[in-house]
Symmetry: C2
Subunit: 302 residues, 2 copies
């Protein structure tokens, strides 16, 4: 959890492959050692698809090069990692431009978890959309859901928006329905850890509930994510494994214990939001719309 | 916030009237001093109706007694406070018996906030229902939503159920939709701070969202509250004032600050759940059903 945010995990994983290679070359059989290191890297976070996406890209590059010396592979991989890094920044910029068109002057945008500069190599996915709208001169306010248990919204989203001069208010996740009912939210924009082939989007726990409430109140709910987050090999959101994380994230906040000793807790880190609750998926190739099976296919192949 | 839970606030307010009188008799004009003290007491918590209900009862008793010496009023009030206290225990017992009929063997019941022995004089409203079901030999599990920001679920509900030997698991409020979708919740039972004449129920922030999600997943959602929580003078939930509490409950957990300096927060303490989301209101006179306007009238007058 030192690196978090799906796109940041992808770029980091690419550099991670370079480090895995550097470690492997110190072994007698560097190819076997490398394969083992990559397997380990791939398993580090089961939900975010960008990790395995990056490792797969690097493996493919290795295959393309065929019989290659370790030092040449290292050179090729490092160049590719730098390229992915630059592409992530450019992708963020493009997503921001497409997404900003959906945000109106005066909107208050709710976001859940952190999908900003702290989760990507660039200025963010969901927050990139907000930054782009602000750059267009639109007056935007943001409600950052605090996002229990890890509090990415309270800690990271609030920090980066406040620092960027975008008006942001933190709300407990519990306030969502009341804020929506009172007309205090015009749009919801969130990131995603993995999007299935049918458009179901897995994101931080609580996103599914926010999407259902948004639907109830007729508030458009958007997911901002690069195409690298779309996993066409996974048919639906229910096929995406949900990471079950350490109880301590729930039982403690900092050093303060908030649950009694001996009481178990649930700590599912993500949930899948069904495609039918999503008004649009904001990608670097434009805003994908229902039916997502077709629009996703077109974005990749068309 | 030293005393919390609507019924506990009611019983405490009755004893509080006795203390207000004791303080007033030290003034020259004890009747004016008393009137002032009672006004102050009444305004201490705007949302829970049991506070003003109890003060109103004591005022009515004073009027009945007419011209009365302070020491005689003190005697009458203390007797009445003890009676209300005993009645609250008996009311809890009756509500538990009616509510337990709604819970099936093997159910997992979700509850939000704390509506147990720590919120009433007796064994609780929502938790009283669970204790009664367990006493009937039903195997019940409970999911206690942690209930940000004040964490009454994580701290109080988990503590008292665990101590009573009822299996309880704490979940972040954000997990609600996923837990319901996975079939891990068969019933929701919560307490209430005030119920309007039309059946809308104001309870801890987040309850409205839980009720909307329960509706979506077809899970029965019940409110357990004594008739003293029903305020027939307030037409709908939207007419009930929502307490806006100190930001520190959101910005800090214990001594740990979780939001950046300078970022504002929302801390609405309650939200109204519309009557149409409520399957039944469990009272000491039975389970009230839609249409609530009529069933509430009957419970009081019939």
């Amino acid at each position: 959890m030192v690196v978090r945010g799906a796109p940041a995990i992808g770029v980091t994983a690419a550099y991670g492959c370079c480090l895995a290679l550097r470690e492997a070359v110190e072994q007698d059989d560097w190819k076997s050692a490398l394969a083992e290191n990559l397997d380990k890297l791939e398993r580090a976070r089961p939900t975010a698809v960008n990790l395995s996406w990056a490792v797969r890209l690097m493996r493919a590059l290795h295959e393309e090069l065929g019989e290659v010396r370790a030092q040449d592979l290292a050179k090729a991989w490092f160049a590719r990692a730098k390229q992915l890094h630059a592409e992530d920044i450019e992708t963020n910029r493009r997503m921001g431009a497409f997404g900003a068109e959906l945000i109106e002057d005066g909107d208050t945008v709710m976001t859940h978890c952190n999908a900003g500069a702290l989760a990507t190599a660039g200025h963010g996915t969901a927050l990139g959309v907000i930054y782009s709208a602000v750059e267009q001169g639109k007056k935007i306010k943001v409600i950052a859901n605090e996002t229990r248990p890890f509090l990415q919204g309270a800690r990271l989203t609030a920090y980066e928006l406040h620092k960027a001069g975008v008006p942001v208010t933190v709300a407990c996740d519990n306030a969502c329905a009341l804020l929506m009912k009172r007309g205090m939210v015009q749009k919801v924009v969130v990131g995603a850890d993995r999007i299935a082939a049918n458009g179901d989007a897995v994101n931080k726990i609580g996103t599914f509930g926010v999407a259902l409430l948004a639907k109830h109140f007729g508030i458009p709910f958007y997911v901002a994510a690069p195409l690298s987050t779309i996993d066409r090999d996974t048919p639906t959101g229910d096929d995406i494994p949900i990471e079950d994380r350490t109880p301590r994230e729930v039982t403690h906040v900092g050093d303060t214990q908030i649950t009694p000793d001996g009481v178990p807790v649930y700590n599912f880190a993500f949930d899948p939001t069904p495609a039918e609750l999503i008004h649009g998926v904001i990608t670097e190739k434009g805003v994908l719309r229902e039916p997502y099976g077709a629009s996703i296919k077109k974005a990749f192949d068309g």
